[in-house]
Amino acid sequence: MTQHVSPPRGSADKVPLTEQLPAWRTLLGRADVRTLSLLGVLAALVLIGGVTKPDEFLDTRNLQLVLTQASVIGVVTVGMTFVITSGGIDLSVGAIVALSSVWATTVATQEYGFAGILFTAVIVGVGCGLVNGLLVAYGGMVPFIATLAMLASARGLALQITDGKTQIVTVDGILNLGERDSYVLGIPPLVLVFAVVTVIGWLVLNRTTFGRRTVAVGGNAEAARLAGIDVRRQRLYLYLLSGLCCGIAAFLLIILSGSGQNTNGNLYELDAIAAAIIGGTLLSGGRGTITGSVLGVLIFTTITNIFALNNLQSDVQQIAKGAIIVAAVLVQRRTASTT
C-alpha cells in the first residue's frame, strides 16, 4: 500500500474563507452579484405589476396563478439546467411533455386511475430521456441533432395518439388537485412539487458527486475522462434526468389543464433554455445555477402575467422576452469580463 496522504476526516484544519460562507450566501450561490441582479429585476417587475394593475396583479389568486404557471416550465428548466451545465442541450423537452401528457391521459391509461396517470407520465418522460441519452452518450450523436430528432418524433407520436383531439381527464383524484380545496396553506400543490424539485435539484448539483461530475464533464470532458470519470454514463444519466423532469412537468400540466393535448409544451425548449441562460448557466457548460434558472423562470412568467393583465397581445410578449434574453446576456458578459 502506498497511500501518501490519509484524508483527515473532520480535521481541525481551518476551512478556507471562501468555502465557509454564511448559509444565506451559500443559498444564493457564489455568483451573488448575478443572483442579486436577477432578484432586482424580479422586484422591479412586481413593482410594475403592482403599479399598473394594483388590484389584479397583487391579488392572492393571481399570484397563485403565476406560481402555478411557473411550476410546469420550472420543473423542465431544472432538468435543462443539468444538461446545459454538462455541455449538452435538450431540444426535445416540449415534445416529451406533450407525449407524456397524452400517453398518460388515454382512455386506457385513465382506467388505472391516479397512479396509472402519474406512472405513465413519468415512465414516458424517462423513456424518451433514455433514447436521447443512448444516442448522445453511446451513439456519439451531437446533442442538438439527437434531441431535435426526438422533438420531431415525440410530437408526431403525440399527434398520432390523440388524432389532434383533447383528451379530457375524468379521474377525480387528479382533478381535485387543481381545486382550491387542496391548497396547502394557500399554496397550490403544483407549486409545492416545483419547490421540492428545485430544492432537490440544487442539492444534487451543489452537494453530490453526481453534480460534481456534471460540472466536470461540462467544464472539460477530456480532463474528466482522464481523471477516471465515466463521461458517457454521466451523459446518459443527465438526459434521463431531463426526461424525468419532463414527465413530472407533464403530470403537473395534466392537473393544471384537466386534459392531455398533443400541442402541450409548445416552445418549452426555448423558455427553459432562455431561463437557464439568463439565470447564469453557461451554454458552453462547466457552470450551472439552479437558483438562477428558477429566478429566470419566475421573471418570464411574471412578464407574461403582467402583459396579459394589461391586455397586451402575445406578439408584444414574445418581442419583450427576446429583448430580455439579449439584455441579460449582455449584462452577464460585462460582469463576467470584470471577474
Binding site: 480535521s11 460534481r212 466536470a216 477516471g228 470519470i229
Partner: protein, 505 residues
C-alpha cells in the same frame, strides 16, 4: 546608445487583475533589427506584457512609444496596423480553413471590395511559405491536417502577411524538433537582417544565447534587468535574476540502493498500428523510468495507451501481475494508475473550478456517502495533498486558472497523490514550467518515488530524462532502440541514438 529612438519603448506599464498585480511598472525598449529576449518565471508577467503589446489587454498606467510617438493599442487590430504581430504559444488558427485562408484571415485579397480572390491568396501564401523554408506546405490544405510544427509555420506566415516591424514569439520552440528549431532560428535571422525586431520568449537559456541580442528579465511583474547582453551575461546571473536564487537545473540525488522488488507496472508487447511497435517495459516501486525520443517517436501515445485512453492493437498492461482492461481509463485509475498529461489545461484541469475540486475529482467517492459529498473532509484532504507538494498559494479555494504552470502541475500531481496511486505517468511534466519551479518539481517526483511510487516519465528534454530517471528507454519511430541506466548515458549518446538513421524529412 542608439542615435535613433528605439522602435518600441514601453515605460511604467502596470496592469492589475482582481487580486493580482500582473505588471508593476515594466519598462521595455526594443530596437529595430534586434532579437530581444524576454525571460521570467511563469507568473512573472511575460504573457500579460505581450498581450498589452498585442493590444489584447489595456494597461492601467504607463506609456507606449512606437517609433518615437505615443500610441494607444486599443485592440489587436490597432497593434497589427502599426506592424506589431504576435505568435502565441497556443496557436490561434482555424482548423477547418485552408492554410491560405488562415494566412489571410481578416485581410483577404478582394476584388470589388468583397469577392475573395482565392488564387491571389494562394500565390502569396506559397511565397511566404517558401520564404519561411517550407515550400512543401500546400496552401490549399486544411490547417487541422498539419503537424504542430507546420501549424507554427502557418502562424508565422500569417504574421508576415502583414507589413510587420515587430514580431512577438511566445515560446515558439516548445513544440519543435531540433531540425525545426534550426529552421526557426534561420527565419529569425532573416527577419532581423531585414530590420524587423523580434521579441522572443523562451525558457531555454541556450536558445537565447544562440539568437538573442539583448535580454530583459521579468520577476513578479517588474523588469529586474533590462537590455542585458544576451550572449555574454553569465547564466548564473540570469538565473539569479529570475529566481532570486543562485541555482540552475538541479536534479535530486538518486537513492543509494537501486529499487528492488517485483515490478508494479508491466507492459507486454503493447502496440498501436502506425504509432508504436511491440513495447515491453517494467517499472518497480520507487523507480523512475524515462522514455526519451523526438516529437513523433510515439512517446505520448505510449503513455496514453498504457493509461487506457487509447486502445492498443496488441499486447497488455499489467499492474501487480493483473491485466488491465485494454482501452479503459477507469480500469487503469481503479488499479492505481495516474496520468499527468502533456496538455494540462486541455486534458487535466477544470479551469473554471477551484484547486480543491480539481484535486478531489478522482477521489470523490471517498468523501461521499450515498453520493453526498462531505465538503469539509474534501477540502481538508485537498489541503493536505497540496501542502505536501508545497503548492502556492497555500489556499486550495482559489481557482486553478490563477496558478502558475508549475503549481497547476502540482495540482494534477496532488490529485493522484490523494488517490493513493501507485504508478504515475508523467508526460512532459515541466512543459511551460520555469527553471526555478522545475527543480522543485523534480524534487517532488523523486520524493514520491522514494516513498514507493513507480514513475514512468516522458520528456523531449534529454537532460531532464537523464537527470531524473533511474533507467532510460530511447525511442525512435515507435521502437525502443536502447535501454540503459541513466548514469551510463549522456546527452550526446542519447541524441545519437535518437537521430541515427532517421530519414531527412
Amino acid at each position: 546608445m542608439a542615435p535613433e529612438p528605439p522602435l518600441l519603448s514601453m515605460s511604467g506599464i502596470t496592469k492589475s487583475f482582481p487580486g493580482v498585480r500582473a505588471l508593476d511598472g515594466v519598462d521595455l525598449d526594443v530596437q529595430a533589427g534586434e532579437v530581444h529576449c524576454l525571460l521570467g518565471q511563469n507568473g512573472a508577467g511575460k504573457s500579460t506584457l505581450i498581450k498589452v503589446l498585442a493590444g489584447a489587454h489595456q494597461p492601467d498606467t504607463g506609456t507606449i512609444r512606437w517609433r518615437g510617438e505615443d500610441v494607444t493599442l486599443r485592440s489587436p487590430i490597432a497593434a497589427m496596423r502599426l506592424g506589431i504581430a504576435t505568435i502565441y504559444q497556443e496557436l490561434d488558427l482555424v482548423e477547418h480553413l485552408s492554410v491560405a485562408e488562415n494566412v489571410h484571415l481578416g485581410h483577404e485579397p478582394t476584388a470589388a471590395g468583397f469577392v475573395v480572390r482565392g488564387k491571389a491568396a494562394r500565390v502569396s501564401t506559397a511565397q511566404l511559405l517558401k520564404r519561411l523554408g517550407h515550400p512543401e506546405i500546400d496552401p490549399t490544405r486544411l490547417v487541422g491536417q498539419l503537424s504542430a510544427a507546420q501549424q507554427q509555420i502557418v502562424s508565422m506566415a500569417r504574421a508576415l502577411s502583414h507589413d510587420v516591424r515587430l514580431i512577438v514569439m511566445d515560446e515558439p520552440s516548445a513544440a519543435l524538433d531540433p531540425d525545426e528549431v534550426d529552421n526557426l532560428f534561420r527565419i529569425v535571422g532573416d527577419l532581423t537582417a531585414d530590420g524587423v525586431a523580434v521579441v522572443y520568449i523562451s525558457h531555454r537559456l541556450e536558445e537565447i544565447r544562440r539568437i538573442g541580442d539583448r535580454v530583459t528579465v521579468l520577476k513578479d511583474g517588474r523588469a529586474v534587468a533590462g537590455g542585458l547582453p544576451a550572449k555574454s551575461t553569465p547564466t548564473r546571473e540570469v538565473v539569479a535574476l529570475m529566481t532570486g536564487r543562485n541555482v540552475e537545473y538541479v536534479f535530486p540525488e538518486r537513492p543509494v540502493s537501486a529499487p528492488g522488488g517485483a515490478p508494479v507496472l508491466e507492459v507486454r508487447g503493447l502496440a498501436r498500428d502506425g504509432e508504436f511497435e511491440a513495447l515491453d517495459l517494467t517499472v518497480r516501486p520507487g523507480e523512475i523510468v524515462g522514455l526519451a525520443g523526438l516529437v513523433g517517436s510515439g512517446r505520448s501515445e505510449i503513455l496514453e495507451t498504457i493509461y487506457g485512453a487509447r486502445k492498443p492493437t496488441a499486447g497488455q498492461v499489467l499492474l501487480d501481475g493483473r491485466p488491465l482492461r485494454p482501452g479503459s481509463v477507469r480500469s487503469a485509475v481503479r488499479a492505481g494508475l495516474g496520468l499527468a498529461p502533456e496538455e494540462r489545461k486541455a486534458q487535466a484541469l477544470l479551469m473554471l473550478e477551484s484547486v480543491t475540486r480539481n484535486v478531489s475529482v478522482s477521489t470523490l467517492s471517498r468523501f461521499s456517502r450515498g453520493g453526498w459529498i462531505d465538503r469539509r473532509a474534501e477540502s481538508g484532504a485537498a489541503r493536505a495533498a497540496t501542502r505536501e507538494l508545497s503548492l502556492r498559494p497555500d489556499n486550495p479555494a482559489v481557482p486553478v486558472r490563477t496558478l502558475s504552470g508549475g503549481n497547476q502541475q502540482k495540482a494534477v500531481l496532488a490529485r493522484w497523490l490523494l488517490r493513493g496511486c501507485r504508478v504515475l505517468l508523467l508526460d512532459e511534466p515541466t512543459r511551460g514550467v520555469d527553471v526555478g519551479a522545475r527543480a522543485e518539481l523534480y524534487a517532488v517526483v523523486r520524493r514520491l518515488a522514494d516513498e514507493g511510487l513507480a514513475v514512468l516519465l516522458v520528456s523531449s528534454e534529454v537532460p531532464e530524462v537523464l537527470g531524473l530517471a533511474d533507467r532510460v528507454l530511447v525511442l525512435r519511430e515507435g521502437r525502443v532502440v536502447h535501454e540503459a541506466h541513466a548514469r551510463e548515458l549522456d546527452e550526446h549518446r542519447v541524441l545519437d541514438l535518437v537521430m541515427e538513421g532517421s530519414p531527412a524529412s
